[in-house]
Symmetry: C2
Subunit: 339 residues, 2 copies
DNA sequence: CTGTTAGCGCCTTCAA
DNA sequence: TTGAAGGCGCTAACAG
């Protein structure tokens, strides 16, 4: 009466429906029109009776199609990633794939580990929001020749489909906005640029834009996320150095904006009055923080969705050359950049 | 030169190492001590040369052990869920399991869909943060007799291991804090109670605590997350009805706290001065919102970790009766509940 | 329209 | 210490 009841197999269904496995298999694979009504109904009821579900393991083994897609997410704690994930998931559901989510916690080691894992589960494609992934990771990846698309960020020296924000447009929009609001000295804050193309592109667009407006001062600084002292000092100095001018800070991503806001709190700088503040990435709490923080919102969900669409295209054999897809950001103006 | 290179199989390795598949299999399964040094080395290099990875699909099929654990998350957009997830992941890594993350988006349909999916991938256990899941879902679950543990919230009429917050302790701590801070009328705000045990337990503990302090007024209201008007009115009324008394609001979870804060903004109520505010769940922006918001922080990561440990125990055959594990919350005091 | 058969890649007796 | 053979649950020829 107790003990593990073995899962019913296709043979059990065949037996119960008094037919062969092939017909059941056909039924399962949508070739139902090839079956007589009678047989179809028998199979239907047998499946229902036994509460049968085909084993994806066996299917995957046989067909080589696992319908699995690997997701490598740099930091699942980041709202950006989560929103993207959400878009990917929706797309997966629509296309009949199942996402295998791997959180690398911003550690390159984990990235390698998960890459292996995904291969061993024979995922049909991968969507990656990479942290580091150089050499080793790249080699493994290229060997496996798996359909893959990058999100947000490119990997240096690696030609691959990418989906992300139109960094030029976004950074330009943000910068112009600040200038129009009358800010005269602007500090672009980012995490260390490294080889991260998004950071570099945003910074470059920022500088290019400022160059078009003589008299406006452009500065930039690279600050690791948790270097609070460096952050405090940088802001303090920027503030005193341009005393008498209208100043503003652009923060290159959401996680950093949080740190900037905290730092301003600590050193008693009020955004909106003492200093302007504009951050990339929308934050659910942006309107609640003081007079509100102006943000540049990315269409995160769409980015995720598009990324998955792109892998699926590749899985289905699209052979076009490397495909880059960018989405425009949207400026959401709040008190922190008011005149 | 191009075209898909077929993944190497165990046979390829065997061939390359000039031996049989059995030995390779033994090598892979840690029975390396049974192999001669010579053979072991040959296999080792063959594996490295071919960059071979055993197919989990085939393994799963053969042994019935997929090393897959299904995670059903009600809303991946919720920071609570993400933190828990993060703990689960860490534990998975340690125990050698792979999480299959399913986001149900708070939809019962999705829950059923994913339950099927997980079964079809033959996951060995499930960790669930359920939304609804009644009848249908339950039946399917009970039939499958899969090791399972619930997170945060129980499912009515379903005996199952649970890991979550000590709601009584937490709600009591929160309530006592407010009373000690001199608040005389306290409104407990939650989403509709429904059959959600966490909401009910928190509310009950709140009322029980207040009962011990004569003269303190306790109220409560149920407000769906996005009913902004209802929220506004409820707060407004509460505020005017107890004019002249020191009032505070407790919000039963993080998502709701965000809505409460927004509503207070809208109707011009300032937490910390006009009214007290305390929310369950820590928020990364809690210190940035006005004078700061006092929160009751859950050890989310630990909860996730513990949940996974528990499923693994079950997978490995623990037959103890239903196991409930609760963690204490920690009050983080900020400006919103100052005297 | 329907059934038989031969593997997919791996592990596990069983025999050498 | 090693290898050969069978089968996990399923699909895809190939016959009827």
């Amino acid at each position: 009466m107790n003990g593990k009841v073995a899962r019913p197999t296709i043979s059990d269904v065949a037996k119960a429906a008094k037919t062969g496995k092939t017909s059941v298999s056909r039924y399962l694979n949508g070739e139902q029109n090839l079956l007589s009504d009678d047989l179809r109904i028998r199979i239907e009821t047998a499946i229902a009776d036994l509460d049968y579900r085909p084993s994806q393991m066996a299917r995957g083994l046989k067909r080589g199609r696992t319908r699995l897609i690997g997701l490598i997410i740099a930091d699942i704690t980041n709202p950006y990633s989560v929103d993207v994930l959400s878009g990917i998931e929706a797309a997966c559901r629509e296309k009949g794939f199942t996402p295998l989510v791997c959180n690398t916690n911003n550690e390159v080691d984990q990235e390698l580990h998960y890459l292996d894992l995904l291969r061993s589960y024979q995922v049909e494609g991968i969507v990656v929001n990479a942290v580091g992934m150089r050499e080793e990771g790249l080699n493994r990846l290229q060997q496996s020749a798996l359909p893959m698309v990058l999100i947000d960020r490119k990997i240096p020296d690696f030609a691959c489909d990418v989906v992300g924000l139109d960094n030029i447009q976004a950074a330009t929009t943000a910068t112009v906005h600040l200038i129009e609001q009358g800010f005269e000295a602007i500090l672009f804050l980012s995490e260390p640029l490294g080889m991260v193309n998004t950071r570099r592109e945003r910074l470059r667009a920022f500088r290019n834009t400022i160059d078009r407006y003589p008299g406006i001062v452009a500065e930039n600084a690279e600050i690791p996320l948790h270097e609070t002292e460096l952050m405090d000092n940088t802001l303090r100095q920027f503030h005193t150095r341009f005393r008498g001018m209208r100043k503003a800070v652009i923060s290159a991503n959401g996680a950093l904006t949080l740190q900037v806001a905290r730092a301003m709190r600590r050193i008693g700088l009020h955004w909106g009055s003492d200093i302007g503040l504009l951050g990339f990435d929308e934050l659910e709490w942006a309107e609640l923080a003081g007079v509100g923080i102006t943000t540049l919102k990315q269409p995160t969900w769409q980015i995720g969705y598009a990324a998955l669409e792109q892998v699926v295209k590749r899985i289905e054999g699209a052979a076009e050359s490397v495909h880059e897809q960018v989405f425009s950001g949207e400026l959401i103006v709040r008190g922190s950049t008011a005149r």
